[in-house]
Amino acid sequence: MKDWRYWLAEQRGTLLAFGIFIVMFTIYTSNHPAGFTANVVQTASNKGVLLAFVAMAQTLVVITAGIDLSVGMIFLLTNCLASWLVIGTGIETALGVVAVLGTGLLCGAINGAIVIYGRLQPIVTTIATGAVYFGIALLLRPFPGGSVNEDLADALTGRLFGVVPASLVALLAVVLVVWVPFSRSVLGRAAYAAGSSEMAAYMSGVPIRRGKFAAYALAGLLAAIGGLFLTFFTYTGEAAYASGNAYTLFSIAAVVLGGVSLFGGKGSAIGAIFGALAFRTIGDLLFVFDFDPLWQPLFQGVILLIAVSLGAFALFRVRNRLEWFL
């Protein structure tokens, strides 16, 4: 087989997610009353980027065959923290951003430490740590409020050269700075290997523990970047339980749509980003077709249900029935 075929097989999920997104976005903009203008794209990208960051975070953990049900809560916690710290002069704001990102990294590292070195199951661990993170968020912001450095916020949510949404550029920068180096490093390979077959990776001397730990910690960092952007969009911090849960849920949906295997070892954060953008666009389709917004939760739930059921098609390829049971 030629090289490009291997590449195609590896990127199939990502390309499919990209295709779904393009189709959905075309439908969206062609039915939008304002049409395909810079404003529409800016609003859509600002909404989509939030989920994209959280979905990237989820991808890192899912690749190791784990799951992080606390991403939404880290997202809320960093949002509440940013509404206190990212304010004031340039230096203060910069320190605030560093503190917020550091907090996210720490939250992810705690998850990773408990799962890897404490040897607890990721589901239970992250549900429990999620409760802790939500509690801290509630301590920071019992009521919605706070403020943010508005110059920075406007710069990162506005448009570059009047055309390109700045949030998309930020997303691209994060991909280049966090995802690309990680996925090409030894640790990134180890995370993939651990997700694909932990036993085989262990036997081959792959540093699975460090790889998984790095994945969990970076997931916290990416969720924190998402939380920071939420603060930039809303100018406030709010510890809303339902919103944190929704982001966790949607991140899983985005990951699945983006072709990342929930059994680990397969997929990329790029796919998850397109999955997230596609999921957001699908959710917003209701608005351009003038449906009652009450239907949106049901609509998104059904999309999620369909997206996760698509994985069942793999069952048709199973030759030996014993392969049903992993």
Partner: protein
């Protein structure tokens, strides 16, 4: 099961201590510790009325945790509890608005809605082989969507029927709340099913190794489907009782039961990987969680502190005895 011969001091201990699961013993020890701490804080903590009241509050969680335990024993998880509870409560109250027939069918209809959610979960997990964590999250979202559309985004105005209120708050036996009696009945049925029937043995078998259970000629997919349906039904029944307790249903009434029900099962020594665990442990876990909640609210801890303590306690207790074996 550790029924191998134990020599030395342990060999001379009474049989029931030798056979007891260390996790269950730890959970009961923690209950005693919590009662002790509580009695230091307030004299009335050990009064029979207060303890009975706690048992009544615990019974709602206990019923929901029973279903959760069945699913966890299979090595799966049911994250659709929040909206199964809410759907059961809302649909039971909604049925009550349709005349005398509706009132009579309110409780069965609520449970039926939970069973329906459970069947969707079960089909997804057993036949489509979707990871349970994912499909149950998805059905939870769909159930939420349906309820939001149905109620228009507000808490429904229909109130609970008299039968629901009687089941949740009445006293059929003097001194013992009905909710506790119901929990005891459901618990006894669960113990019987798990230890005395083929279905129960199959559940443990699938939890240990589904492939082996399948090769032994068991229709494992049907068992998984039934377990999820039962879990959904019990969640909804818990919701029906809660609606009777509060005399109406509310939007997010189930949110407070997901983490506690998983925590109760896992703290009771049931392995989250499936195949291991006893109902006695779940009972201990439920009482432990309820007492912890009660002490925190007696101390007037705000919601934020409660969430933090909750998460920390669960992780700490699991680190004590819920760890997976090291890979060597």
């Amino acid at each position: 099961m550790s029924e191998t011969t134990v020599g030395g001091i342990a060999g001379r201990m009474p049989k029931f201590i030798r056979r007891a699961d260390p996790a269950v013993l730890t959970a009961f020890a923690c209950i005693v510790l919590l009662l002790f701490v509580g009695s230091l804080y307030s004299r009335s903590f050990l009064s029979p009325e207060y303890l009975l009241q706690q048992l009544k509050v615990a019974s709602f969680l206990g019923i929901i945790a029973t279903g959760m335990m069945l699913v966890i024993l299979l090595g799966q998880i049911d994250l659709s509890v929040p909206w199964s509870v809410a759907a059961g409560a809302m649909m039971a109250c909604a049925a009550a608005a349709y005349g005398p027939v509706g009132v009579a069918l309110a409780i069965p209809f609520g449970i039926f809605c939970g069973v329906a959610i459970g069947i969707v979960n079960g089909v997804g997990v057993a036949y489509l082989r979707i990871p349970s964590m994912i499909i149950t999250l998805a059905t939870n979202a769909v159930a939420q969507g349906l309820m939001v559309v149905y109620t228009g985004g507000f808490s429904p105005q229909d109130s609970a029927t008299r039968a629901m209120r009687y089941l949740a708050t009445g006293f059929a036996i003097p001194g013992v709340p009905n909710a506790v009696v119901i929990w005891a009945l459901i618990g006894a049925a669960m113990v019987f099913v798990l230890t005395r029937t083929g279905f129960g043995r199959t559940v443990y078998g699938i939890g240990n190794r589904e492939r082996a259970a399948y090769l032994s000629g068991i229709d494992t997919r049907r068992v998984v489907l039934i377990a999820f349906a039962v879990s959904g039904g019990l969640s909804a029944f818990g919701g029906v009782l809660l609606a009777g307790y509060a005399s109406k249903a509310a939007q997010s009434m189930g949110d407070a039961y997901l983490l506690p029900s998983i925590a109760a099962v896992v703290l009771g020594g049931t392995s989250i990987l499936g195949g291991r665990g006893s109902y006695l442990g779940t009972v201990a876990g439920v009482i432990l969680i309820t007492l912890l909640q009660s002490i925190l609210s007696v101390m007037q801890m705000p919601e934020a502190g409660r969430q933090i303590i909750y998460g920390v306690v669960i992780v700490a207790m699991l680190l004590l005895y819920g760890r997976a074996p090291a890979s060597r």
